[in-house]
């Protein structure tokens, strides 16, 4: 092969990659939703740079699971909900989707609480911001189209990079950061371990697996696109971890150094004000606002879609209301319930976010085990079943996650 051809093929590859780009990056960004930002903020505020190392195993786990999703989506052309229903039967499907529905309604509540909290930094009452966002999100999904939504989402993903700015405004100590990444002082007490679990657990929420796979299908990616899609997943995972990294730093270099305790992400934004200035607080709150809108667009519609897909009801935003009534009613109900509960005065936000973590904790290993079983079935995946190496990594991941989730669930119920 001569040089000219080689050069051309590099360009060709870059163009092909750009065309395929999207599902991985969007999924990666939506990963840093309000629950994620809260966990990272609390981790930074309580433990400083000490928990930064957890992002490395979180990254590996995220990449392994999402690569499987991308591969399953491309090879079978089916959603994860479809595959679970077809291969695991009605009972397992029912269990998964009842829990998924419950967890996602709670998750959507936390997203709306993020809208409320971040807008309060800008002095907008939650009784104005939450209904407006809820209506806006509803209209966007019912009247919009996925192609436009995807472009907006890619823009949203860029917005999340404001956390880098927020972090730099806190003048972090890079030498310290490097030291705690290389040689973390791992504690063995209970709160430390549950924080580690929290960081890893929030990075891979169960519904993300479903979302990733449908995004790949929606793009009509084919087997020849597989290697680029893996690259897309990789870029997405890196984005997730980078944003998480800077959120932890933003809180660690200011809140932790001053010994401020926080309960959630909007606390963090508010606490930043006296320490790093109004602008830093607003940048942080802006990031939170974007993240919560981002997730509240995707989460309810995705949930309604998977539930309908699994039980054989018509679904999809390209269908009309009377063609897919179950889908639209479920979608509308999720938004009304979530936004409505957040509007109740003195609603226990921390309890809501803890409960959504608990249910996710139970659900995640179940979904992952289903995925591993399906991805190894020759009649489903043809020649694209898991290679032994991916199986080993996946099973180790599952065993660790099971142990982590079990600990988390037990600890939360105690």
């Amino acid at each position: 092969m001569d040089a000219v051809v080689k050069k051309k093929s590099i360009w060709r590859n870059i163009i092909l990659f750009l065309a395929i780009l999207g599902p991985g990056i969007i999924t990666g960004s939506v990963d840093n939703d309000v629950g994620g930002i809260t966990t990272y903020s609390v981790a930074g505020a309580e433990y400083g740079y000490n928990l930064l190392w957890t992002l490395i195993p979180a990254f590996i786990v995220l990449f392994v699971t999402q690569e499987m999703n991308a591969r399953m989506g491309i090879v079978t052309g089916k959603g994860l909900a479809d595959l679970i229903r077809e291969n695991m039967g009605v009972k397992v499907t029912f269990f998964i989707f009842i829990f998924l529905l419950g967890a996602d309604i709670l998750n959507t509540m936390t997203e709306f609480s993020g809208v409320a909290g971040s807008m309060e930094i800008f002095h907008v009452s939650k009784y104005i911001s939450v209904p407006l966002v809820a209506i806006g999100v509803w209209i966007m999904v019912v009247k919009g189209s996925y192609r436009i939504a995807e472009k907006i989402f890619l823009f949203f993903s860029l917005c999340l990079l404001v956390y880098i700015v927020a972090a730099l405004m806190g003048h972090p100590d890079w030498k310290d950061i490097g030291k705690s990444m290389m040689k973390p002082e791992v504690e063995t007490n209970f709160t430390y371990i549950s924080m580690v679990i929290g960081v890893i657990g929030t990075t891979i929420a169960p519904w993300m697996q479903f979302y990733m796979q449908s995004a790949v299908i929606e793009k009509k990616l084919q087997i020849k696109d597989l290697k680029f899609s893996v690259l897309d997943v990789l870029v997405g995972c890196i984005c997730t971890v980078v944003v998480a990294f800077f959120i932890i730093i933003a809180c660690a270099s200011t809140l932790h150094t001053n010994g401020t305790h926080i309960n959630d992400a909007s606390d963090a934004a508010a606490a930043l004000e006296p320490l790093a200035g109004v602008l830093a607080a607003q940048v942080f709150a802006f990031g939170l606002f974007i993240a919560s809108i981002f997730a509240s667009v995707i989460l309810p519609v995705a949930t309604a879609f998977y539930v309908c897909e699994a039980f054989g009801f018509e679904a999809g935003i390209d269908k009309k209301w009377n063609e897919a009534p179950q889908f639209y009613w479920l979608y509308t109900a999720i938004i009304i319930i979530s936004a409505g509960i957040i509007l109740i005065p003195n609603v226990p936000l921390i309890q809501i976010s803890l409960w959504s973590q608990r249910i996710n904790g139970i659900l995640l290993p179940v979904v992952l085990i289903c995925m591993i079983i399906i991805v190894n079935k020759k009649e489903v995946m043809g020649n694209y079943v898991n290679k032994p190496i991916s199986n080993i990594i996946s099973w180790i991941t599952i065993v660790i996650l099971l142990a982590l989730s079990a600990t988390l669930v037990i600890s939360l119920f105690q």
């Binding site: 009605v90 084919q222 054989g312 009649e379």
Partner: protein, 417 residues
């Protein structure tokens, strides 16, 4: 102990299989049916005992109800079958929980359960259950829910579809061989079939197109959305793809090729016969906003000295599509556009009349490099269904049909959202 007549598949899955002496052989894991007949006939069952499973001939079996539970009893010897059987499906593995096409309702449905019947001639699948009741039955709560609803004098929404009205389409990579797969799909109208195909996953789309003949494949392909078209074309072997594309109007093919990778397009073009590929190459030269990109190159032209009789004979031998037959064009010896003549005028004129006598004197045409927006105005102003397209030397290149303009308008309004 009573012999049963009709039963649900979910109620027999996992039930005991016993020998003539009443000894438990194992549990029912799956049922194999032969789909060659109008109603699939049960030919074998898969039995699981311990960690092993075996496939056993169904001939000597009867299904009984003992203590309100189904039992499969073998009378005589039960022969173990080996190897893959043609024309058979596993009900649990290939049908239950999968999607199939509801021919009558013209959509994809998911199978919640199956209804089987035992007749003197054998055991058959009667219908598929796609309703809510089937779902609850699988969860084991259908009866209590029914009792509860009885109190309120309502019933569960239930939907059964006769087997004659469904077609199985989802085989994945299971390697199933059927002698006439998807045959019921051919009764569907092409645009309905296209709508159903849009809803399918990629593997099903590929399988179905592999089974369609070229004519049908071309008709269905024409109705699909662009990204599905591309997927289908890329999934077909290149020779078949080329054959199918030859059967499609050149302008449609050019539209698809515009969205595909150049390398792939070049391969397809060189595989197609030269007449078809030249037309497409011609169209591909035009920019998106030029009229040439919308036009069809299939049109009928006559010389002005031709008689009506000769023209009609020509039409009979050409057997043109209905899109092209209504507008006929008169060109000179260098293919330059002169006038339009309507099918109506040809039919009502005497056979010996010259076409030059009945052709319309005010001729409206557009140039291939004009902007596409100009055409809408012309069509609506003159109430036309088609407009001839000429190049800068007035040589006739094609014509634009109102369908293509409507499609183009729809597409651009969609882009604007």
């Amino acid at each position: 102990m009573i012999e049963t007549t009709t039963f649900y598949f979910s109620r027999v899955l996992g039930r005991k299989v016993i020998s003539q002496t009443g000894e438990v052989i194992g549990k029912l894991q799956d049922i194999l049916v032969n789909v060659q007949f109008q109603k699939p006939q049960v030919v074998a069952i898969k039995i699981k005992s311990g960690n092993k499973s075996k496939i056993v001939d169904f001939n000597n079996f009867k299904i009984l109800k003992v203590d309100r539970q189904y039992v499969f009893k073998c009378y005589g010897t039960c022969n173990i079958l080996e190897g893959v059987m043609e024309n058979t499906l596993y009900l649990k593995n290939n049908v239950l929980d999968r999607q199939l096409v509801d021919i009558d309702g013209r959509k994809l449905v998911r199978v919640n359960d199956l209804r089987l019947a035992m007749l003197a001639s054998g055991t058959f699948v009667l219908a598929v259950d796609v309703g809510f009741e089937g779902l609850l039955r699988r969860l084991g709560v259908a009866k209590p829910v029914k009792l509860l609803l009885d109190i309120f004098k309502t019933t569960l929404p239930n939907k059964m579809i006769l087997w004659d009205e469904v077609e199985t389409v989802d085989f994945g990579h299971a390697g199933i061989k059927l002698s006439s797969p998807f045959s019921k799909l051919s009764t569907l109208h092409v645009s309905d079939l296209a709508d159903i195909i849009e809803d399918m996953d990629a593997k099903m789309q590929t399988d179905i197109f592999a089974s369609l003949d070229e004519e049908k494949a071309a008709d269905v392909l024409e109705e699909l959305e662009t990204d599905t078209q591309i997927h289908v074309i890329e999934s077909m072997p290149i020779e078949k793809a080329a054959d199918v594309l030859e059967k499609m109007p050149a302008d449609e093919v050019a539209d698809i090729f515009d969205e595909m990778e150049e390398e792939k397009v070049e391969k397809l073009l060189s595989e197609m016969d030269s007449e078809a590929s030249e037309d497409i190459r011609e169209l591909l030269k035009y920019e998106d906003n030029e009229i040439g990109s919308l036009m069809t190159t299939d049109f009928i032209s006559f010389s002005k000295n031709m008689t009506v009789e000769a023209a009609i004979n020509e039409l009979r031998s050409l057997k043109p599509e209905s899109d092209t037959i209504y507008y006929l064009y008169i060109v000179d010896e260098k293919d330059r556009f002169i006038a339009t003549v309507s099918l109506r005028d040809i039919i009502i004129s005497q056979p010996e009349t010259k076409l030059s006598e009945i052709m319309s004197d005010k001729s409206i045409y557009v140039t291939d490099t004009d902007n596409v927006n100009s055409i809408t105005e012309i069509i609506s102003k003159y109430n036309l269904l088609a407009v001839p397209v000429v190049d800068k030397d007035k040589v006739m290149r094609g014509m634009i049909i109102i369908d293509d303009i409507v499609y183009n308008l729809l597409r651009s309004s969609r882009r604007r959202i």
